[in-house]
């Protein structure tokens, strides 16, 4: 290639070159071939081309411009290097290297020096050159160590000195390498065991300076001191740190010399800091501090520490400041933060905890125990029953926002929230009742208190709570009881109730709501019946002008009451009979059972102060109507004439004579109705309203009533279990006991004991719904 090049030039006759360049290159060649007779322009061409110049250049020189043909002949004599060439060249190079070491100016031009190296390499002097260079550098570096051995300087200065020395060394080595580049590229490259010139420089620096025990120690201690003072908030020279740490990693001793000690120091610092601050600061402050520390350390990594330290360093900080204190942080501050709804602090806590192992797990556990504790407090106190549901809704909403804002909607937390709610809500059976009452009160208020959308939203929230309740059937039972009362008094907001119903249906399936739906259907049917009955009355010329409405309820859908018999005035009885006839004529095969406890009336009453209308229950009506004939009645008379059960009667009388609106008077006066008490019509009764509602005195939704509701629930559960078993067996035909039981647990919406299930299965086998397999008593077969 090089020869070609020169030949072409020759052949074409264009052997003139830009003179400036020639001048420089001519000098180069002089060193190599002092005996050459060539023209300067030839040498300028062949000089840089190097390798083949021994053969090519003289040939070309022999044939000047005159000839066209180019003949290449060998040298007659092999050109020789001057005797002392090697020594001379090395001296020149040595001088240059020493100049570099001393930071003085180099006499020869860099180009010349480079050429010299190249030539020496070409003449197989590379090993020698390398060795000489090494020795030279070795001596220089060795001489540098002395400045670090003196005790006098203080640590920051010492570091600065070290840095200067290192920087100088690097610069020198870069310079030297540039000059000896050819050596690096050929000789070193071919000998893989040889370190490059740069690496050699590092090696020398390492061996002579840093490996010196006291130097190393002072440097590292100095660095650690510097970092510690930065950690204590002082401003330090970060570029110095960076440079020295780079030095360590360049020398490949960063890890063993610095990092290990650094991490040890960090560990210790943060261990004490963590322990101390946990005592001194409250949790939010502590967390802020931890966050600040982490940020600082990250910045430190960014600015001067080696990236390889990152993981170990951050883990160390996290471990010492957080990992060791997880439970105490939670114990000390979590509940307060939750209580005060400190979302930003909680967010920070989540972020920090998510960094350490087990952190989220602990946080989640703390969260769930808080929810349980707090929730239990809401639920367990019977005095709070009235506000309980509202409190629960608020509580749930607050927790939901915390989970979504602070805990990033982490599924673990959502689940924990759900579980905890489920746990505490089912601490008391009564919650179903409270919830049912709450739903009822909201629905009854209906559009008066809230718009439809608000009501819908509220119902949705209630459904969330409802979902947590195990005994959903208990809720149903109480809800039914409340509905019944409302229906019979026409106080239900049908739309709202229906919306609730559809939600319940969605949640629990058709089986759950079928009875509730039946109740609604009854109400609609009753309306139709009443219209038909009114028409019927017009046809048969009824005796009285009493406005009679009847609610016909399907037995089984509605909560049942013990039937009671009361004596009614003949006109009322006859009226009742008219309806009964009318109804039974329309529906064959049915019978009616009156429910006096649920009926109510409007009475016209005339007092001396004027006429009034009284809204009263049927029992109150019967009692008051007795006073039409007489002035005074004894308790026993009333009991005899009405046939109302004793305690019920006493309550009724109490409401009429001892309540707010006293339309009759008790003699003697007193709060409770005693045996032998007499009652008189209160003609002086005054009230600013025309229509007056006289409340029945309720036995505090009596224990009795609760028990009966619960009994009914228990009964219903038996049927539900039976139905579920039949349903499952019908689809599966044959099924093992365990599988059947597990499917049952999936389907049933209330807690059941396995023993109870077994009893139901036995009973169904008795009734031939299913049978045991003849060969395997653990298998059941469906019997069609």
């Amino acid at each position: 290639m090089a020869t070609n090049h020169s030949r072409k030039r020759k052949g074409s006759g264009n052997n003139h070159r830009p003179s400036k360049k020639c001048a420089v290159e001519k000098e180069d060649i002089v060193d190599v071939m002092t005996d050459s007779e060539r023209k300067p322009n030839f040498s300028s061409l062949s000089g840089p081309n190097g390798v083949n110049r021994n053969h090519a250049s003289p040939l070309v020189a022999n044939k000047p411009v005159s000839t066209r043909k180019l003949i290449i002949k060998n040298f007659k004599d092999k050109p020789k290097l001057p005797e002392n060439y090697q020594q001379q060249t090395w001296d020149k190079l040595k001088e240059a290297v020493i100049a570099i070491h001393k930071s003085t100016s180099i006499k020869s031009s860099l180009e010349e020096l480079y050429q010299a190296v190249e030539n020496m390499c070409s003449h197989k002097m590379a090993p020698l050159l390398y060795e000489q260079l090494r020795v030279l550098c070795d001596e220089h570096v060795k001489s540098n160590v002395s400045q670090f051995l003196a005790d006098s300087v203080n640590s920051p200065l010492y570091l600065k000195q070290m840095n200067t020395c290192w920087q100088a060394h690097c610069q020198q080595m870069i310079m030297i390498r540039s000059i000896f580049l050819f050596l690096d590229r050929t000789y070193v490259l071919q000998n893989s065991s040889m370190p490059s010139i740069w690496d050699m420089g590092l090696e020398l620096f390492r061996v002579h300076i840093i490996s010196n025990r006291s130097v190393q120690n002072r440097t590292v201690v100095g660095l650690l001191l510097l970092i510690e003072s930065e950690r204590n908030g002082e401003a330090v020279d970060r570029s110095l740190l960076k440079s020295l740490l780079r030095m360590l990693s360049d020398l490949q001793i960063y890890h063993e010399v610095f990092e290990v000690q650094f991490l040890e120091a960090t560990n210790q610092l943060y261990r004490t800091e963590g322990q101390q601050l946990m005592q001194e600061r409250d949790v939010p402050e502590y967390l802020m501090h931890v966050d600040k520390r982490l940020n600082e350390e990250t910045e430190r990594l960014l600015h001067y520490l080696d990236q390889s330290t990152k993981k170990a360093l951050i883990t160390c900080v996290e471990h010492q400041l957080l990992g060791d204190h997880l439970s105490s942080i939670l114990q000390k501050g979590f509940d307060n933060l939750m209580e005060a709804n400190r979302t930003s602090d909680l967010t920070l806590m989540y972020q920090l905890f998510s960094r350490v192992k087990n952190g989220l797990h602990e946080l989640c556990a703390g969260f769930s125990s808080y929810v349980k504790k707090r929730g239990r407090a809401i639920v367990i106190n019977p005095e709070k029953d009235k506000t309980m549901v509202q409190e629960l809704l608020d509580f749930k909403e607050k927790l939901d926002t915390i989970v979504s804002d602070c805990f990033q909607n982490n599924e673990k937390f959502i689940l924990a929230l759900k579980d905890s709610f489920e746990y505490f809500i089912n601490q008391r059976l009564n919650n179903s009742r409270a919830l049912a009452k709450f739903v009822d009160s909201k629905l009854r208020a209906g559009n008066k208190e809230a718009t439809e959308e608000e009501l819908e939203r509220l119902l949705d929230k209630i459904m969330v709570i409802f979902r947590f309740i195990h005994g959903k059937d208990v809720f149903e039972a109480f809800y039914k009881r409340i509905l019944q009362r409302d229906f019979c008094r026409k106080s239900a907001s049908v739309d709202a109730e229906k919306s609730m119903l559809s939600k319940l249906k969605q949640e629990c399936g058709g089986g759950f709501t079928s009875k509730l739906e039946g109740m609604f259907k009854d109400m609609e049917l009753s309306r139709d019946i009443n219209i038909a009955f009114k028409q019927h009355l017009q046809n048969i010329s009824s005796p009285d002008n009493i406005d009679l409405t009847v609610n016909i309820l399907t037995m089984g859908y509605w909560p049942t009451y013990v039937p009671v018999e009361v004596h009614m005035p003949p006109e009322m009885v006859s009226y009742q009979e008219i309806f009964k006839k009318f109804y039974l004529a329309k529906h064959s095969g049915r019978k009616l059972q009156w429910q006096p406890t649920l009926g109510h009336c409007v009475l016209k009453a005339s007092f001396s102060a004027g006429a009034k209308e009284l809204q009263v229950s049927l029992f109150q009506t019967l009692t008051l109507l007795l006073f039409n004939g007489t002035e005074e009645l004894a308790l026993e008379d009333i009991a005899h004439q009405t046939g109302i059960e004793d305690t019920e009667l006493r309550r009724t009388l109490q409401s009429l004579a001892c309540g707010k609106a006293r339309v009759i008077q008790k003699v003697p006066r007193g709060k409770d109705v005693e045996d032998g008490d007499k009652f008189v019509f209160n003609n002086e009764f005054k009230n600013k309203y025309f229509r007056i509602k006289i409340n029945q005195i309720q036995m505090k939704e009596t224990a009795e009533e609760q028990i009966s509701t619960q009994e009914r629930v228990f009964q219903d559960r038996q049927y539900q279990i039976d139905a579920a078993i039949v349903r499952i067996m019908k689809t599966r035909k044959t099924l093992s006991h365990t599988l059947l039981v597990s499917e049952l647990y999936e389907q049933l919406k209330f807690p059941v004991k396995p023993g109870d299930l077994k009893k139901r299965i036995e009973s169904l086998i008795d009734r031939d719904y299913m049978e045991r397999d003849k060969d395997n008593s653990n298998m059941y077969k469906y019997v069609a």
Binding site: S441, R444, C488, R489, K490, S491, G510, G511, S514, G518, I546, D547, L548, T549, V550, I552, L553, T554, M555, G556, W558, M572, Y575, Q576, F579, H587, G589, R590, K591, L592, Q593, W594, L598, G599, C601, V602, L603, K604, A605, S606, A611, L614, T621, L624, F627, N628, F681, R691, K693, N695, Q698, E701, Y719, D722, A723, A724, V726, R727, R767, Y769
Partner: protein, 111 residues
């Protein structure tokens, strides 16, 4: 609780005002009457002898299939009653009343 009841009841029925005072001689006169009754099948035995569920409740098969509204009651000439669906299954095997062994003759079906 009792307070709660009262407030709830106060709101009830405040809509229809009717000043009507024809019988001053009587201190109290009935003006409006809201009567509540429960209906049930008029049966001698309230449990269906075939499925042993109360006749007012839906038979188990209908409960399982969620057909509560369709499960009515039948009476035979013998005056025994069963769920209609239970009885129709029964009749496929045996045309006698399961209680009295008389030949089954339909008297009425509930509606």
């Amino acid at each position: 609780m009792a307070d709660d009841e009262k407030r709830e009841q106060m709101e009830v029925g405040s809509g229809d005002v009717d000043i009507n005072d024809k019988k001053p001689d009587k201190m109290f006169g009935l003006k409006k009457w809201n009567l509540v009754a429960m209906w049930s099948w008029d049966v001698e035995c309230d449990t269906c002898a075939i499925c042993r569920v109360q006749v007012m409740d839906t038979c188990l098969r209908c409960q399982a299939e969620n057909k509560q509204q369709e499960c009515v009651v039948v009476w035979g000439e013998c005056n025994h009653s069963f769920h209609n669906c239970c009885m129709s299954l029964w009749l496929k095997q045996n045309n006698r009343c399961p209680l009295c062994q008389q030949e089954w003759a339909l008297q009425t079906t509930g509606k």
